[in-house]
């Protein structure tokens, strides 16, 4: 059976793994801090010893998190999209529908034009712009 997954703090977790992870983290860090605090206090280090104990506790947090990281793997599915196989004009049309005309790259400054050319978008943008201009003319 698929484990029940939950969304906690903006990402997906397995509740069993989450409980395990927190138990490991707290189980290492809190005793580490308390024991260190006792040792430093018994040696009469005062405030500074209290701060050192905090440092020990923090190392405990990091160790706990790293162990939890090794035990529990992420619950994410990563798909690396290959380049969109659809027609370039279709993609641009979709963007234009949402954002408005992307404009004529020929009206841009020379350095920006070069950037658009290097991206391989120049001809596609010109074509899209001209088609749109023609359509507009046609509607009149």
């Amino acid at each position: 059976m698929m484990p029940q997954l939950l969304e906690v703090w903006n990402d997906t977790v397995d509740p069993k793994h989450l409980t395990g992870g927190i138990a490991i983290g707290v189980g290492i860090a809190v005793p580490a801090y308390l024991i260190a605090d006792q040792i430093f206090a018994s040696r009469g280090d005062g405030t500074l010893g209290h701060s050192y104990a905090l440092l020990v506790g923090i190392v405990g947090c990091i160790v706990g998190a790293v162990i939890a990281g090794f035990l529990f793997k992420p619950k994410r599915v990563i798909t690396t999209a290959g380049a969109d196989t659809r027609n370039r004009q279709e993609i641009i049309n979709e963007i234009v529908d949402e954002y408005g005309d992307l404009g004529d790259p020929r009206e841009l400054g020379p350095s920006v034009q070069e950037e658009v050319r290097a991206l391989g978008l120049f001809d596609a943008l010109v074509e899209n712009h001209e088609t749109r201009a023609q359509e507009k003319g046609g509607h009149k």
Partner: protein, 461 residues
């Protein structure tokens, strides 16, 4: 250079390198909210006894590096890296669908670098302009804080509801502080801050524990993330240069908005990023140029607002009078027993008193250079690989485990089990207000200061 400056400079360099590396990494993880992550770690650095030079350098390098690498999940995965990355999400997604996510990324981070270079000196200049009025501002602080709290609450997602919710929230803090005073003859600060900063996490954890809450949090299967294809241009080997990545127009607009947002330090960084993007966008006719320029300007604004909102109140006033200072930068103003802010007299003993303006300038420049040198080339060249590694290997369970144990340890350090109870209370209530009323952590931090400063002043009337 005088000999006594050498040790602070070494601290600044060391802590900036640490923060630069750490936060370049943290920025790659999507959804790592600035307040929830930066505030506790800054607090930690202060509590373990790092000197002021190291603290300021750590903090500035942390936010500068994070706001460079937060563009990686935003542009490559289409999910905001943190709260301030939200305004550039739409443009980033459109450029991603156009098949050029790497352009969105490069423009965004180059805008960030330019913005840092402008915001650091300008913030110091604006702070100097404001310094003569510091005493007057300090005397009026209780009233300024309540006005700011109402304003910040009203401009949050919760609008009027967040303003009204300030009343129970402030009363809870006042009540808890009175009880703590009775028990321990001291007041707590850290456990309140931690509760506010990590409220949504604490609320989610309790909700997941409850069968009722769990039903609403269920997820059908694993979440899918669509990583943009790795498109790298041929000039990948060259040393990255923001002046070549950005066009002249983009340089000008980014510099202009960085300069403006360095002065508007009382407004929310997210709001300023949205506003600057709109203003610049409305002035550019060509669609492609508008997309890339808005991404550049918006990410630039996340850097300039964060730097100005930290440095100006720190240098000029010493009181946390900006949304940023009352949020991620809160520990720099008040982190007892190291840095204190006396609620009754308004007297401060924090970075404002411990560093001169010249020292602030020096350590800010060190932090900025180091953070940029670490984060910018790394993100320019390794963004795709790093994003893949984080998504595949860093589990959310491990991150939560780390934070949950950090909360426990810091609370026990401040005041034993009582402090842990305070964080749990404030976190649960704050998280609930955050999730259901739209009252974000910044409003709640202001609420804390209303409880500490305004309430006593009101009672003394």
């Amino acid at each position: 250079m005088s000999a006594e400056l050498i040790e602070p400079i070494l601290w600044a360099i060391g802590m900036a390198v640490l923060a630069g590396v750490l936060f370049t990494g943290i920025g790659l993880i999507s959804g790592t909210d600035e307040t929830a992550i930066v505030a506790p770690l800054a607090l930690l650095v202060i509590l373990i006894g790092v000197p002021p030079a190291g603290v300021i350098a750590f903090f500035l390098a942390a936010i500068i590096a994070k706001h460079i690498s937060h563009a990686v999940p935003t542009t490559l995965l289409g999910i905001p890296g943190d709260t301030t990355a939200v305004p550039m999400l739409r443009e980033a997604q459109l450029l991603r669908s156009l098949g050029v996510p790497h352009i969105a990324l490069r423009k965004a981070i180059s805008g960030g670098v330019i913005s840092v270079a402008i915001a650091v000196p300008l913030s110091i200049v604006f702070a100097l302009v404001l310094t003569p009025f510091a005493d007057a501002i300090g005397a009026a602080a209780p009233w300024i804080f309540i006005a700011a709290a109402v304003l910040v609450a009203y401009t949050s997602k919760g609008k009027l509801a967040a303003v009204v919710a300030l009343i129970p929230f402030v009363l809870i803090i006042v009540g808890l502080q009175a009880f703590i005073m009775e028990q321990k003859e001291a007041t707590f600060t850290t456990s309140f801050f931690l509760g506010i900063a990590t409220g949504p996490l604490i609320f989610d954890l309790l909700s997941a524990l409850s069968p009722v809450g769990r039903r609403a949090m269920r997820q059908e299967g694993k979440r899918e993330f669509n990583l943009a294809p790795d498109v790298r241009s041929r000039d990948g080997k060259r040393l990255p240069n923001p002046f070549k990545t950005l066009s002249g127009k983009q340089l000008a607009y980014t510099s202009g908005s960085a300069a403006i947002t360095s002065a508007t330090f009382v407004f929310s960084p997210v709001a300023m990023a949205v506003l600057m993007g709109e203003i610049v966008g409305s002035r550019i006719k060509n669609g492609y140029e508008r997309l890339t320029t808005v991404v550049t300007v918006r990410n630039g604004t996340t850097e300039s607002t964060y730097i100005a909102e930290t440095l100006i109140p720190l240098i000029a006033i010493g009181l946390p009078l900006s949304p940023m200072a009352a949020g991620p930068a809160a520990p720099l103003f008040n982190a007892p027993p190291v840095y204190t802010l006396d609620a009754e007299t308004g007297e401060t003993n924090n970075l404002h008193d411990l560093l001169t303006t010249g020292q602030f300038a020096l350590f800010a420049v060190i932090a900025a250079i180091i953070a940029i040198v670490i984060a910018y080339p790394f993100v320019m060249t390794n963004a795709h690989r790093a994003a893949t590694w984080v998504m595949r290997s860093v589990s959310h369970e491990a991150i939560i485990a780390g934070f949950a144990s950090l909360i426990c340890v810091i609370c026990l350090y401040e005041g034993g089990l009582l402090a842990l109870g305070v964080t749990l209370t404030v976190g649960l209530v704050g998280g609930l207000f955050n999730r259901f009323i739209g009252m974000h952590a910044g409003v709640q931090f202001m609420g804390y200061y209303v409880a500490a400063l305004t309430v006593p002043a009101l009672l003394a009337l």
